[in-house]
Symmetry: C2
């Protein structure tokens, strides 16, 4: 058949870029688990097997998608001190990971890092080394920061609300479930068996909400400050 030149518009030609961007868009819209080769091809107005001329298999497709995500993360600036540089790239990382939620959990679990990932890696290590960290300390500092950043993103992705307001709403609802069916012994027993959890959910989050950004930056600054102190004494 070649290309369908008939009544329908002649489809824009495929390309690796188009495939990759369509895949990212599809993952963003419907979630990564419903990204299938057939749906992706449909989205592009092509047959499923056509994709395999631009990508050797699905695994590699995911690798390349991930590397695009990495490429969107701001490299640490060399114009400022290491702490502000690292702070910025951490915040940038979280922003990018929030923009591409589907990527969280895949990023750290890909076996073969792409060029953007390697470049970022190198830049971060460089920032720390130039900032006066010894090699050993650099490795430690890198490890702590990345574990925190990706771990936080992982938690954030899987909690059932996005904004502080929404978190308050969800928490309030959960709390009402606790209270409302107090006759339901199970619910009452729950609140009694897990008082601290109840306190946090009902007593605090339901009241003031949970601000992910603030929480992230709190932990981030805690870590950066601690690293700063240890840099001097190492």
């Amino acid at each position: 058949m070649g290309r369908p030149q008939h009544a329908t518009h002649p489809r824009a030609p495929l390309s690796k870029e188009r495939v990759l961007h369509a895949a990212i868009a599809l993952a963003a819209r419907d979630g990564i688990e419903s990204l299938t080769m057939r749906k992706l091809a449909d989205e592009l107005g092509a047959g499923a097997m056509s994709l395999y001329h631009y990508v050797p298999n699905k695994e590699r497709l995911l690798d390349e998608m991930i590397d695009i995500v990495f490429s969107e993360i701001e490299l640490p600036s060399t114009d400022v001190d290491w702490k502000t540089a690292m702070r910025r790239r951490a915040i940038s990382t979280r922003e990018v990971l929030n923009r591409h939620r589907w990527a969280v959990g895949l990023m750290e679990s890909r076996k073969t890092p792409g060029p953007a990932s390697i470049r970022l890696h190198n830049a971060v290590l460089g920032c720390l080394r130039e900032g006066g960290f010894s090699i050993e300390m650099t490795i430690h500092a890198y490890s702590v920061q990345d574990a925190y950043i990706y771990g936080f993103a992982l938690q954030e992705k899987n909690l059932p609300f996005d904004t502080a307001e929404e978190s308050a709403a969800v928490a309030e609802e959960q709390a009402r479930h606790f209270a409302e069916r107090a006759e339901d012994r199970r619910a009452a027993a729950l609140a009694e068996e897990f008082p601290y959890l109840a306190e946090v959910v009902a007593g605090h989050v339901a009241e003031v909400g949970y601000d992910f950004t603030a929480a992230f930056e709190y932990g981030l600054d805690l870590i950066l400050d601690a690293l700063d102190k240890r840099r001097d004494t190492a």
Copy 2:
């Protein structure tokens, strides 16, 4: 057919426990991605559909497996100060996650937490509250620690070596690839383009190796110490 009473041994009767434990064993042996209902049934000498009398679907099967993993994590002790209690449960968490590598990445991403997960959650919050943290600080402290612990486990799972010795071997090999085919312009250019990465891989890890346990505890203590200081000033 009922039960096969013929030449073969009459198979031990199925049960939810047997199904769950067989699933965990299979995931440990062959990896989580090759845990399928059919293989699991084979492992138990049963037909695939028999499993569905003990577990409503695969998703729930995973949930229950994960909750067993959670149940193996030591609850924070109430006999010691919060810092040692938290330190112990963090180390216990990492141990359990290393014992059940397949669970890393699934644990934080399950939507419906099981009872063991809730109990642990509650105990950790309780430990911090009783340790003198305000509600706000408790939430922050919890968030930082868990992000770090699970983030670290995630990194650890996906790096291509297990022990410090092995890490040195792998790094050395990588470094040799860099040096050996120096005629291959690509490799030489890589080392030049990413000098800090090369320094860490070739110059340090290849020499002394990378000790996950030490790295984990370094970051953990850094965080706990920082939390300790902030507890007083909050």
